[in-house]
């Protein structure tokens, strides 16, 4: 049995607003609130804890500098921050020599992402739990492709290789999975 912290978009957005005016307490709360998912995404993509901490730190710095331009109508603070993190992490692994990723590590990433619970047992935000729930309701082959591409930062070719499928099939699974994720979110809003 685990606890899941509720997502509080209003409070998150207030935190970012306070960050924009250099509120020290807001900065502390902001980093502590989001360091788990930010580091989680960075390490999922880089597979290197040291590099992941560098990426995560840079993501927080970028977010801090851009906090005045954050627009809550375009997405939650969590996804805004994770988008920054993902771009940085992908840049970081492209700047290094490609290192092979153990298939077992990717399988662990898939199962952890679809379960909606943190591997260290600390629980997670409802926003993450809800997203994992939507992912888990996708056809399994689409969910796997989306996790590998989005959270694992794998290219379409790497997804195809890991899944043992043609590249075109991998791309179709990713695309259909992303579109279904969006539709599921819309259906819940209606």
């Amino acid at each position: 049995m685990g606890l899941f912290s509720l997502s509080d978009r209003a409070a998150d957005a207030a935190l970012v607003s306070a960050l924009a005016v250099n509120d020290e307490a807001a900065a502390t709360a902001f980093v502590r609130r989001f360091q788990g998912p930010v580091f989680g995404l960075a390490v999922s993509i880089t597979r290197d804890r040291v590099l992941a901490e560098d990426v995560a730190q840079e993501a927080f710095l970028r977010a801090w500098r851009a906090s005045a331009s954050y627009d809550s109508r375009r997405g939650s603070v969590l996804t805004w921050l994770l988008t920054i993190t993902r771009n940085l992490a992908i840049d970081a692994i492209r700047a290094r020599r490609a290192a092979p990723v153990e298939a077992g590590e990717l399988e662990l990433l898939i199962s952890t992402s679809l379960s909606g619970s943190a591997p260290d047992g600390t629980g997670g935000r409802v926003e993450a739990l809800a997203a994992a729930d939507r992912l888990a309701r996708l056809p399994l082959e689409q969910a796997r492709a989306v996790v590998l591409a989005v959270i694992g930062g794998r290219t379409g070719a790497e997804v195809a290789e890991h899944e043992g499928i043609p590249l075109g099939t991998a791309k179709t699974r990713i695309r259909n999975g992303l579109l279904r994720m969006r539709l599921a979110m819309e259906a819940e809003r209606d």
């Binding site: 049995m1 685990g2 606890l3 899941f4 912290s5 509720l6 509080d8 978009r9 306070a18 005016v21 250099n22 509120d23 307490a25 807001a26 900065a27 502390t28 709360a29 980093v31 502590r32 788990g36 998912p37 989680g40 999922s44 804890r49 901490e53 995560a56 730190q57 927080f60 710095l61 801090w64 997405g75 969590l78 996804t79 994770l82 993902r86 771009n87 992908i90 990433l109 992402s113 909606g116 943190a118 600390t122 997670g124 409802v126 993450a128 809800a130 997203a131 939507r134 989306v146 996790v147 989005v150 959270i151 290219t155 695309r175 992303l178 579109l179 994720m181 969006r182 979110m185 819940e188």
Partner: protein
């Protein structure tokens, strides 16, 4: 001459940042002038954001937050921007949502079902969390989604950094530990808060207690 439009895979590649600089520039320029492709891309981008939110959380090494904060160099004085009135209104909305049994706790609204089956048939579905001194420090309620039952906890006036075990008390007197949590600082207010879900199996509890590491019952909510 046929007008060029990117194929769906190219839009996926753009969303996943798999394109090189030249491809990206061409695609972005096209999207700027093509509402149909822009809409297709927006759907993929929205889906990608939803998937990102499922990222599993991992704890970084000790001292990580300190290093980030040092790098930020944020030394400005604490300046709470949320007025007490706003805070009170938010808390009031939260309580109204719980007591109305619709699980209307801000972001959870979109996730929990909104049909009449959201809440278990048991009444009442929400209760105040009271300390032994009778102070109300939050609320507790029960919600259901996809056949799963959750206890909803909302603490609005806790102590910063305090850790609590969440004990679910059954009708037979059984005591089940639902997990341990630490309250988050409410910056600028000197108190801490938190809102949590505890997935439960079997019959819903008749009461919920927040117990300190020393075994003291800090607060209790009885249905």
């Amino acid at each position: 001459m046929t007008e060029w439009h990117p194929d769906p895979d190219q839009l996926v590649a753009l969303a996943l940042t798999e394109t090189d600089a030249a491809q990206q520039e061409r695609l972005v320029a096209h999207l700027a002038g093509c509402p149909a492709c822009r809409d297709d891309y927006a759907q993929l981008s929205d889906g990608l954001q939803q998937a990102l939110a499922a990222t599993p959380a991992f704890a970084p090494s000790a001292g990580f937050s300190g290093r980030v904060l040092t790098a930020m160099g944020s030394t400005a004085a604490v300046t709470p921007i949320r007025s007490r009135r706003t805070t009170v209104l938010m808390v009031a909305c939260l309580l109204v949502g719980l007591l109305a049994g619709i699980g209307s706790v801000l972001g959870i609204n979109a996730w929990l079902d909104r049909s009449s089956s959201v809440v278990t048939a048991q009444e009442p579905v929400a209760a105040r969390l009271l300390t032994s001194g009778g102070d109300a420090i939050g609320s507790v309620g029960i919600a259901r989604r996809s056949g799963r039952t959750f206890v909803l906890l909302n603490v609005t006036a806790g102590r910063s950094g305090a850790r609590y075990d969440c004990i679910l008390v059954g009708s037979d007197g059984s005591r089940l530990n639902g997990g341990t949590w630490t309250l988050s600082d409410e910056y600028g207010r000197g108190t801490a808060s938190g809102a949590w879900l505890v997935p439960i199996a079997g019959a819903p509890p008749v009461a919920v207690e927040l117990v300190t590491p020393t075994g003291t019952v800090w607060a209790r909510g009885t249905f």
